[in-house]
Symmetry: C2
DNA sequence: GTTCACAAATGAATCGATTCATTACAAAGG
DNA sequence: CCTTTGTAATGAATCGATTCATTTGTGAAC
């Protein structure tokens, strides 16, 4: 057996015949150690299989090299992509990212914030679900700043990175009109979700500007099943009353609509065009590739992490800023001009 | 401002007029503290906004309440589902799960194992990518056991939780034959992936037993794009030579095939049936719902975490075991009997 | 009133790495 | 030969919570 279970710094020092301070220097300021001792220490580390104890390290230094990230739903590819972007930046700063899932549950959300605080993470990236802004303020007063992700900070108390959903909604509807729609509809809800509200607002404005009315199908959620249900409802309308194009508040809904229309033998886009929102991978992968509004997921995570590091590193001079990306249309077959 | 930035246990003790030991007791063995002092301590904790320092805690106690989980690809819903299952169990044991992404990169894989070791996690759940078994042995010798996930441990050195891919392959092919196929094909690769090899083997055996030959389309990867490419190739074959059913090694490939067949105006399942593997959410959500072989993702994560805790809690009596789940067919429209 | 049993509370020692004031030593300058 | 300057190395003090051997306090039993 080449290595001993619990080798600690002291053991390394003993084996190498140097002081603990020197071993620590080899680890943290190698340039200050003579080559001779350095190599002896490294050999000892290797021989003992010494692994630094991160708990002791961060207890003494008072800081952990980690960020906490709390998202609404890890199963949603949108959030994993954002997280990957953030992780890249964290890695560049030699930090690690602890990813947690609030699963749209206020209790879990608070529990994870507690955990982050106990673990003394350097900062938090969060897509808030419940009423946590006050709590985040408190955390900042204790030295743990946070950045809001996929949510606009309205009061300048936080940095935030979000997407202009109003613009996205307008883009989507304009695209449908350009493709020849004269009876467009919006499918989505609940309107208590800011994103839904904004996307609808943008679409409604665009319709109004074009002098077209926008039919509304309000839904209690944004799930696939709901899309299929609304799709069946729409399919059963008389052709003259039926929308000739639908803007769905997200891709899940849109895919549900698509499946329903296929089952009801409506042709997409000839009988009815569809545009979704988010541009998830599967948008391009359905039998009829789905047009969608695409968000720069990776960039969102990167920018958020960068803002967070700015606040961590320069708490004094740091000024909160709101980054708002403009989402882009990706036109595919589901809206091909007739 | 109701609370002080860095309140520590000593401050709480001072404010409550008790010793540090008593505060610690309130936190860790409340039943040993008189109600009177207990309430004073709790009030002080509240007033100061005291938050336990996890680093100090685990330095002293020698153990962290956390598990590490290292998966091949966090973007793959299969792994997030497995992780959620594991997290449930971890939570029940009052542990937290640190999720990391090796992204099919040996370097990252090793780096994260280092990190886990530095953080002194109690154990590791891993879907190995590179040659890490030796490394995992070393980690166990230093007190950090691990369980293999979605990978069979062949040598009894580890616990493992996996799925019987051979049986799954046989189930898939049998289903196609039952649905009337006489010229089935297998699409997938590379065969260096054990899963692909096993799924093919199961299918080939089932075909042989039925006295039918199984055509093979080998691919260099399992991505959507590849499926579309092979789909185009198959669509251009003469009808008499064309397979009348395809078993794809995973759902991504299957969805690619489906999109290609739709674009080439082949009818599914009338002209060609399709069955995939994994039963990802989108399998049921494509325009033509896809039949697939479903794995108990959640259960895989739960069992793996349970085995890990068994080894953590009873290192002595623990006996390694291999849990192998049998995957199940979910028949949908893409294989409806003609 | 003394002794005993038991519960409650105490606080010094501890975990392991880091830090920094101090010491040791060598080379250069006078 | 002595002083100065600078580089290397040292090791005791420290971070904050936990633990456990010890002390204090209370009531019961005799």
């Amino acid at each position: 057996m080449p290595n001993v279970p619990g080798a600690k710094l002291k053991d390394v020092a003993a084996l190498a015949g140097v002081s603990v301070g020197t071993v620590s220097n080899v680890l943290n300021r190698p340039e200050q150690v003579s080559p001779d001792k350095k190599s002896r220490v490294l050999a000892a580390i290797d021989q003992l299989g010494f692994v630094r104890n991160e708990s002791a390290r961060s207890l003494r230094s008072g800081s952990t090299r980690s960020l906490g990230m709390l998202v609404l739903d890890v199963r949603n590819p949108f959030f994993t992509d954002v997280a990957l972007g953030a992780e890249n930046v964290a890695e560049a700063h030699k930090h690690s990212l602890i990813l947690a899932n609030s699963a749209e549950d206020s209790g879990r959300e608070l529990a994870y914030l507690d955990l982050f605080e106990q673990q003394r993470v350097q900062g938090v990236l969060i897509t808030p679900f419940g009423q946590v802004l006050q709590r985040l303020e408190t955390m900042r007063s204790r030295g743990i700043p946070s950045v809001l992700v996929d949510r606009l900070a309205r009061n300048d108390q936080f940095c935030s990175v979000s997407v202009d959903d109003v613009a996205g909604g307008a883009t989507a509807l304009t695209h449908l009109l350009d493709a020849g729609s004269v009876r467009p509809a919006f499918v989505g809800g609940p309107f208590t979700l800011q994103q839904v509200e904004d996307r609808y607002q943008g679409a409604a404005d665009a319709a109004a500007r074009a002098g077209v009315s926008l039919q509304l199908f309000e839904t209690p959620d944004l799930k696939f099943e709901r899309g299929r249900q609304i799709g069946d409802l729409i399919s059963n309308l008389q052709p003259a009353k039926r929308p000739d194009a639908v803007f769905a508040a997200n891709d899940q809904l849109a895919l549900g609509l698509l499946q329903s229309f296929a089952a009801n033998e409506l042709r997409v886009p000839e009988d009815i065009a569809i545009v979704g929102f988010d541009d998830i991978d599967f948008a391009s992968q359905s039998s009829i590739p789905l047009s969608s509004i695409s968000q720069p997921r990776h960039l969102i995570g990167e920018r958020a992490a960068e803002l967070l590091f700015d606040e961590i590193d320069n708490a004094e001079e740091h000024v909160h800023s709101q980054v708002v990306f403009t989402p882009e249309l990706v036109a595919r077959q589901s809206t091909r001009r007739h």
